[in-house]
Symmetry: C2
Subunit: 552 residues, 2 copies
C-alpha cells in the first residue's frame, strides 16, 4: 500500500453528516473526524447512522491516529462505536476532548482512547509519518480547528467547519495569519466546508445575536425559554450575559445541556457563577420574571424538553400566555415538519415565540459564499476538493472556486467511498466500501437496506398474514385460513375485503388440491398471487402478503 498518498472519503461528501476521511500515506492511516448523521424520513425506526467501518476494519492495524477538528456530533459522534472495536490515539483541542470524554465514559470505552491535547497556532504534532499543524477557526462551537498535513508534494489543508466571524464571542477569530503562512509555503490541496456555499454574502457574527436576546428578555413579561444546541457554548454565554443584565437566573434543562455546560465551565469556556444558576426543579416555585430556561429540542426532536413544553406535558415548565420562547437555531434540512409541529404547539400555549426568519435570534456557524471565496483567494491551492455537504453544496462550492480562478480540472467533486491519490496531480482512485451503517436500538448494522425496504413497504400499505393448517399427506385444510391484517385496512370497516380474501384462499387451496399440488412453496406462491390481485383490484394497495402453511 505504499506509493502515492491518497485520501479516502468515508463520509460527509455528497451526503450530510458522518464526516470522516482517512489520509493513507507510507502505509499508515490518519483519520480526520469520526462523525455520525441522523436518519431521514425514509429510514423508519433508525436511531442513528454511522459511516460504514469496513475499510477501517480491513485496515485496522494501519491506523496511526484520529484527529478531530471540533466537537460536533457530525464530526465525533461515531467515535465511541469505533472504540468498541479499536484502541485509538485521539488528537484534538481541550474542549473537543472535554466534550467527548463524558460520552466515551458513558459508553464504557474511555480506556480505549488515548487523548492528546493539541494547541492550535501552527505547532507541529507528529503522528507516525504525519506532520500536522492546527489552526483555530471560528464556528458554532468553541475550539474548532483547521488542520494542515504535510504531503510529499506540498501541504494538505482541511478547513474543518468554519466561518470568518470578525467579532466572535471568545475573541478567537479564525487564524488567518497562520493559514496564510501555510498558503505562502504552498497548499497543494485544500478541502473546505461547503455547508453554506449556496448562501450569498457573509454569515452574520455570533455577536449579533446577543442584543436580540437581550431585547427579548428585557421586554418579556414572564418566563423566558431559550432552545439551542447544547454544544453551542457561545450562544449559551450570550443567553447567560443577557440574563445577567435583566436580573434573571438561568436554569439548564436536560442531560446533554448539563453535560456540555459542565465540560465548558470546567475548562473555562463558559463564564457563569453558581449564584446565577437555578435548578430546573425550582423554576415552578419562583417568580417567572426572574428565570431563563436553556433547553434543547430546537430541531423539533420528539420527547425533547421543547417538544414536551409544546405539548404541555413538561414536568417542570408549563407554558402560559405571556411566556416567551426563543428558538435560537436554524432549521436543519429534514427537520422542517417536526419543527413546525413544535412551533404550532408553542403558539397554541399562547406564548410569544421568536424564531428565524421572523426574528434574528440565530446566525449560522458556517462561512457563506463570499467568505468561501475569500478563503480560496487567501490560500490559492493547486487543487481543491469541496467537502462537507450534499452534492449540490459541493457543486456550488466548485462554482465559487472556478469564479475565483481555480482551473476547472483542478477541482474534484467526490462522494462517499471515493479515493483520491495525492501525487503532483490528483486523480480519483479505486473506490472503497462506504455508506451507511444503521443503529436501531442495540443493533448496529443488523438493519440494512433489505429490512428498511420491508419497513417502507409495511408503512405504505401494511401487511396481511394468511395462516392455514393442512394435512401433510392429503393437503386437506384442517384449520383456517385465518387472515390477519395490520396497517392495510381497518378491520371493522372492511370486513368484506378480508372475508372475500379468506374465501378466495380457500378456493385456491381447493384448486391446488384438485390438481394434486402439495408443495408448500407453490401453494404459497399461488395464495400470494390470488390475494395480490384481489386486494389491488379492490383498493389499489399492495400490502405485504405473508402466507403461512402449517403441516400436521
Amino acid at each position: 500500500m505504499s506509493g502515492e498518498p491518497r485520501l479516502v472519503f468515508m463520509g460527509g461528501v455528497g451526503e450530510v453528516g458522518r464526516n470522516m476521511a482517512a489520509l493513507d500515506m507510507d502505509g499508515r492511516l490518519l483519520l480526520i473526524d469520526a462523525g455520525l448523521s441522523f436518519p431521514e424520513a425514509e429510514m423508519p425506526g433508525i436511531d442513528l447512522v454511522l459511516p460504514d467501518f469496513t475499510f477501517l476494519r480491513d485496515n485496522a492495524e494501519r491506523i496511526e491516529a484520529v484527529l478531530l477538528t471540533h466537537g460536533h456530533e457530525d464530526h465525533v459522534g461515531s467515535l465511541h462505536y469505533l472504540l468498541r472495536e479499536l484502541t485509538l490515539d485521539i488528537y484534538a483541542t481541550p474542549l473537543t476532548l472535554g466534550l467527548i470524554n463524558g460520552k466515551l465514559e458513558e459508553h464504557g470505552v474511555r480506556h480505549r482512547a488515548r487523548f492528546h491535547e493539541v494547541e492550535p497556532g501552527g505547532r507541529e504534532y507528529r503522528m507516525g509519518p504525519f506532520a500536522t499543524r492546527f489552526y483555530r477557526v471560528a464556528h458554532s462551537i468553541p475550539d474548532g480547528t483547521s488542520v494542515a498535513i504535510d504531503l510529499p508534494s506540498g501541504t494538505l489543508l482541511h478547513s474543518g467547519d468554519f466561518k470568518l466571524d470578525q467579532t466572535p464571542i471568545d475573541g478567537r477569530v479564525t487564524d488567518l495569519q497562520g493559514i496564510a503562512g501555510e498558503a505562502r509555503r504552498g497548499v497543494h490541496v485544500f478541502l473546505s466546508d461547503s455547508t453554506n456555499a449556496e448562501d450569498p454574502g457573509t454569515t452574520g457574527s455570533e455577536r449579533s445575536v446577543g442584543p436580540v436576546l437581550y431585547d427579548i428578555m428585557r421586554d418579556a413579561p414572564r418566563l423566558v425559554v431559550v432552545a439551542c444546541f447544547a454544544s453551542h457554548i457561545h450562544r449559551l454565554q450570550q443567553v447567560i450575559d443577557a440574563a445577567r443584565r435583566v436580573d434573571r437566573r438561568v436554569a439548564f434543562l436536560g442531560r446533554s445541556m448539563h453535560q456540555s455546560v459542565a465540560a465548558a465551565r470546567s475548562l473555562g469556556y463558559l463564564q457563569v457563577s453558581d449564584q446565577e444558576i437555578v435548578l430546573i426543579e425550582e423554576v415552578g416555585s419562583i417568580d417567572p420574571r426572574g428565570v431563563v430556561v436553556c433547553c434543547t429540542g430546537s430541531q423539533g426532536e420528539p420527547l425533547s424538553a421543547l417538544a414536551l413544553m409544546a405539548a404541555r406535558e413538561h414536568k417542570w415548565v408549563m407554558l402560559q400566555p405571556k411566556d416567551t420562547v426563543v428558538l435560537s437555531s436554524s432549521v436543519i434540512p429534514g427537520n422542517e415538519t417536526a419543527i413546525h409541529r413544535v412551533l404550532d404547539g408553542l403558539y397554541r400555549t399562547g406564548a410569544n415565540v421568536f424564531h428565524v426568519p421572523i426574528a434574528p435570534v440565530h446566525v449560522s456557524g458556517h462561512a457563506a459564499a463570499e467568505e468561501l471565496k475569500f478563503m480560496l483567494n487567501l490560500i490559492r491551492p493547486r487543487w481543491f476538493i469541496p467537502i462537507h455537504g450534499e452534492l449540490r453544496h459541493l457543486a456550488h462550492h466548485a462554482h465559487l472556486a472556478r469564479d475565483v480562478g481555480i482551473p476547472e480540472d483542478q477541482i474534484l467533486l467526490v462522494e462517499d467511498g471515493d479515493t483520491v491519490t495525492l501525487g503532483a496531480s490528483l486523480r480519483k482512485g479505486e473506490r472503497v466500501t462506504a455508506g451507511m451503517t444503521f443503529v436501531d436500538g442495540l443493533g448496529i448494522g443488523d438493519v440494512g437496506e433489505a429490512v428498511l425496504r420491508d419497513r417502507r413497504k409495511l408503512a405504505a400499505d401494511g401487511i396481511v398474514v394468511v395462516v392455514v393448517t393442512v394435512d401433510a399427506h392429503t393437503g386437506e385444510v384442517l384449520a383456517g385460513p385465518d387472515i390477519i391484517n395490520r396497517g392495510f385496512v381497518f378491520e371493522e370497516a372492511s370486513e368484506h375485503v378480508l372475508e372475500e380474501a379468506r374465501h378466495r384462499v380457500m378456493l385456491a387451496l381447493k384448486e391446488s388440491a384438485a390438481q394434486e399440488v402439495t408443495d408448500p412453496t407453490v401453494l404459497k406462491q399461488h395464495i400470494r398471487s390470488v390475494l395480490r390481485k384481489h386486494f389491488f383490484g379492490l383498493t389499489q394497495r399492495k400490502p405485504v402478503i405473508v402466507p403461512v402453511i402449517m403441516e400436521v
Copy 2:
C-alpha cells in the same frame, strides 16, 4: 338553524391546505373553496388528504352553492370527491372552471356540477340568501378572486390567495379600487391569506422572474428544462416569451402540464402558437439548443418527470453535462428532503442547475407582511380572522393586525372545526366535526388513525408473526411455532434472535399446558409478553407481535 349567521371552518386554518369554509345563513350554506392537502411524512401510504365531509353530509340539503376563489388544488382538489355524493352549483371565474372541468370529467362527476361563470369587478351574484361580489386578485395562477358577501351586520370579505403584484404578467392587478369600495361601505369581518405573514417586506413581482429565465436560456449551451407548477400560467408565459426571444421551441411534458396549457390556451390566458411548440417525443432528435422543456416535479414528487430525469430514467429527456435545469418554484414545507434528493441527482448528471435561493428563478404568489398590513389598513375591518396557514402563520398575521391598530379582542384565531357566529360581535360557537379524511388508493376514509398508527409501528420496528398449530383438546403443539419477521431484523444475520424466540414460545406453551391453560386469548397474551421482553432485551426494539394459534 336560523338566528345569527355563522362561519364554519372545515379546513385551511391551523393546518395547511384543504381550504374549505361554509357560511351558514338563513338556513342555507354557502361553501367557500373545496381543497385538499398532501400527506405528511407520518401518514405513510396516504395519497391525498380531504377535509372531513361529515358536517356537509349532515347538512347536504342546506347547501346552496360552492364558490371557488381560484383553481389551485388546495382550493378545488376535493371537489370531485364531494361531487360523488352531491350535486352542486359552482361559481368561479372562467379559468378556474376551465381547470376543474377536465378533472371532473376524468372522474365522471362533471354532470353533477352546474357551472356558473362569474366576472370579477363588483357585479352581484345571488345564490339563495347570499349576495356576493367578486374582485380580482393577483396570485400565482390567473383569475384568482376575493369575494365579498353581505351579512346582516355588514360585509364579510374573504381575501382568497393574493399578492399585491404591481406589474403582473396579465396586467390584472389586485382590484384595490373595488376592494376599497367594499371597505368604504364597511367590512364587518375580513378573512385574509396568512401564508407569507412571516416574510418581511413585500413579495417580488412575477415579472421579475422573466429576465432571469431569459438570461439563463440565452447563456445555456444545450437543452433547457424548466420545472414549475402546471397551473402557474404566468410562469409558463414567461418561459414561452423567453424561449421565443432566444429561438427555442417549447415542449410541454406530462399530463397535468398538457391539461392546464390546453385549458389556458383555449380561454386566452396563455399566448403560444402551434409553431412554437414541439412534441416531447421529438426532443431527442432535434438540436438541444433549440428547445425548452416545461415539466412538473419541482416539489421532488417521485415518478414525476423531473425526478425521472434526475435518476437518468426519463424516456425522452436524458440529461447531459452542459444541459440546464431550472426549478422555477419554491420549496413547500415538508418537501425539502425529496427536493434535495432530486437536486443532487440533477447535479450528478453534470447539468447546470438553477433554483432558489441561489438564483432568483421564483417569486411567491402570496402577500408578505407589508402587503398584508397595507390590505388591513385599506380595509379597516371591524373584525379580523387570519386564514390559510399553520397556526404560527395565523398568529403572525394576528400580530401584524395588532400592529396596524386592530384591537386584540377583535381578532379571532381559529382552527379547523371552529365555528364563529357573525352577529354585531363575533364569537366562537360550538365546534363541528372536522379533520382529515385519508385517500389511499381507491379507499376514501377507510384508513384512519388506527391503521396509520399500525403503519407507523410497523415502519419503526417491523412485525413478528408467531404461528403454532395445537390440538384443540390437549393443547399439544402439532406444528410450529413458526416465526416470521418483516422489517424487524435481517433473518440471516439475526437467526439466533429468532431461534431463541422460537424456543421461548415453545417453553411458554409447555408451561401453559402444564398449568392446563388452553384459552387461546390467554395463550396469545402470554406469547406476546414473552417475546416482547425477549426482543426488547436483545435489541431494544418493539416490533408488532402477532401470535396466531391454529386449533385442529
